[in-house]
Point group: C2
Chain length 350, copies 2
DNA sequence: TGTCCAAACTGTAACGTTACAGTGATGATA
DNA sequence: TATCATCACTGTAACGTTACAGTTTGGACA
């Protein structure tokens, strides 16, 4: 505090290797910090000229609000938390969601923080942590269950969130989902149109909501086309590919083997294709496979697969949009989006 | 401040729906906030009994330090930023790094924030942003170049970071890398041992350090085995699979076609395998392909591929460890790790 | 008895921000 | 000319934490 009165000295500038703060700008413009703060956020009660001047100076010194200051004062973190299960083996998938969320957050004040958990722990842990410590303003979760404890918890706490997948628990909340019912239904009809009469489904694991949606669509397709079902038993897309392959192989070796397969993941479809070869059959001739794919890669590798695209980047964008709107206080019912399956793409009928 | 003296009232408790703070515990224990703060971090000058009592109460009320408060006061963010290129198409890869980093951060005070950028922007942008706004204590970057502007910038600013991939610019810094030289060298030797004499390399894009490492290893292998090279021209693993497939197809149709291929990504290997089929050749009989894979999936889908595993979860863990140590002031030279390629795994010689 | 020291604890200020309750001007109205 | 409203701006306090500079207590020592 020496040299108090030598007003030419540029104290308050970017000296001391410190970033400029509101104080810096206040000093440079001769205004009070409050005025500067309000001028920068275009609040009322500030003269037009003053606003311009303050904003100019702020740009010149490269002012960026200190997030910790804002957060401490306002309680707003400007953070969205994406809760992830790190045991996830499904291909590409997660990164596309992340990229979609990122893209949407890029033009917002929000930062994206990842809150991982492993299946060995309680899925509630990360959610509870974020809500209790208020380390984010909103949460995105996936692997949603029909009666989801996390959804109940966040709803009861009035904490903004969006889910990838629907629930069936009488609670309205923001969600984005892919229409797996329509996918499975169309898949069965496509197979039936190719003359396939005995079909099997490699579904998502039970417990998740989209397992039931997929099964229902599949069952609906069977009813509509009169095709019969061959069951893969307790085999789901989240299992190791080796296991899927073994189970599919034994099914394909049975007397009444399926001639059409519906699959909920590209990875699973690879395993099915491998099993078909193992069984000495030819994909596209003896058996057709309809699968979801999240990247063009699946069909590139196995052109004999029939594919339906599921856009996970879109899912990420929608989820980010929904959770931001929810933080803003929007009504949940307007924040529910269903992605319809794209066209069924496959090789010409063999 | 009414009812000052009715000491039975549990003011300062978790009332008002607010989280407990140091003040809460101070009130409950009858101590000062400073004492509570010091007791919780096991600082000197605090009695043993007091520490125990404070820690007990803290646990009982579920005290969690307010990150914004700590951050504002200390300047420490307790955040690690992972800078990602969201144009990345490579399979699975990114999520494994993220999971690896997450796993390592799980038992640390650090949160993981993702700072994405697209190739349309300057790769320096996200790095500059984090350093300027001090929105993290350390940065992890990938896609490292031999002379990397980001590395130079962070070094000059004394900002802690770790890179996935090495540099060659006379600056010591923390890094983790996969030994792509050894991979390519072993790949060529493996092919030569199978009698392959004319080899092509599908390499990482030029510009990145590991492009050169891979090329050098490949060239070394050629020299050692006396095999000749067939060039794929300007084709790299980051290009669309369709393009890789086309280019590989035209090379395979040339008179002096390669009988062995070395590939730096599983995705690329799929494209090569497809091209081999396009050319009417048989993988494993007419042509062998050695590729890196980041998940077992690659070889499951195409068992006729010869694979070498690259563990990206390990990379994530090492990078997190390195950047944390670097934040702690450790010397960069002790924070450089090289992952050696795993065993070459392939089908029996055909 | 007085001095000194260590141990154990405390109050104040500050990090950067914003909500709130002002304060002076200026000009319009009665 | 007094009153009142409006405009443009300001100071203070507080969010939760920790660094720093104390203060109190009790005992050891001369």
């Amino acid at each position: 505090m020496a040299m108090e009165d030598s007003s030419e000295i540029d104290r308050g500038g970017t000296a001391e290797a410190g970033r400029p703060t509101l104080k810096t700008i206040a000093f440079m413009t001769g205004l009070g910090v409050t005025t500067v703060s309000r001028a920068l956020k275009d609040a009322p009660d500030i003269g037009v000229e003053t606003k311009k001047r303050v904003q100019l100076v702020a740009r010149q010194v490269g002012y960026r609000p200190n997030r910790a200051g804002v957060r401490l004062r306002t309680g707003k973190t400007n953070v969205i938390s994406l809760v992830l299960n790190t045991d996830e083996q499904l291909m590409g998938f997660i990164s596309d969601i992340i990229y979609g969320v990122s893209a949407e957050l890029a033009n917002s004040p929000y930062h994206l923080i990842l809150t991982p958990y492993s299946s060995r722990n309680d899925p509630m842990d990360p959610v509870r942590y974020v809500v209790e410590t208020h380390s984010a303003d909103g949460i995105i979760i996936s692997q949603t269950e029909p009666n989801d404890a996390r959804v109940r918890y966040m709803s009861e706490h009035g904490f903004p969130f969006a889910t990838h997948g629907r629930t069936h628990m009488g609670v309205e909340h923001p969600w984005h989902d892919f229409d797996n019912h329509a996918f499975a239904l169309e898949a069965v009809k496509t197979l039936a149109a190719r003359g396939r009469r005995r079909l099997a489904l490699l579904a998502p694991p039970p417990g998740y909501t989209y397992h039931q949606h997929t099964r229902d669509g599949f069952a609906g397709g069977l009813a509509e086309t009169g095709a019969s079902e061959a069951s893969l038993g307790d085999t789901w897309i989240d299992q190791p590919v080796e296991r899927i392959r073994e189970r599919a192989l034994s099914l394909l070796r049975e007397g009444s083997r399926p001639d059409g397969l519906v699959c909920s993941s590209g990875t699973g479809a690879f395993a099915l294709a491998a099993a078909i070869e193992d069984a000495g059959l030819v994909l596209g001739r003896d058996v057709d496979v309809v699968t979801k794919q999240s990247s063009k890669l699946v069909q590139m590798v196995r052109r004999d697969l029939i594919v339906v695209n599921e856009d996970f980047r879109l899912a990420g964008r929608e989820l980010a949009r929904a959770v931001i709107a929810s933080i803003g206080g929007a009504d949940a019912r307007g924040l529910q989006t269903l992605a319809l399956p794209g066209a069924v793409e496959g090789p010409a009928r063999g």
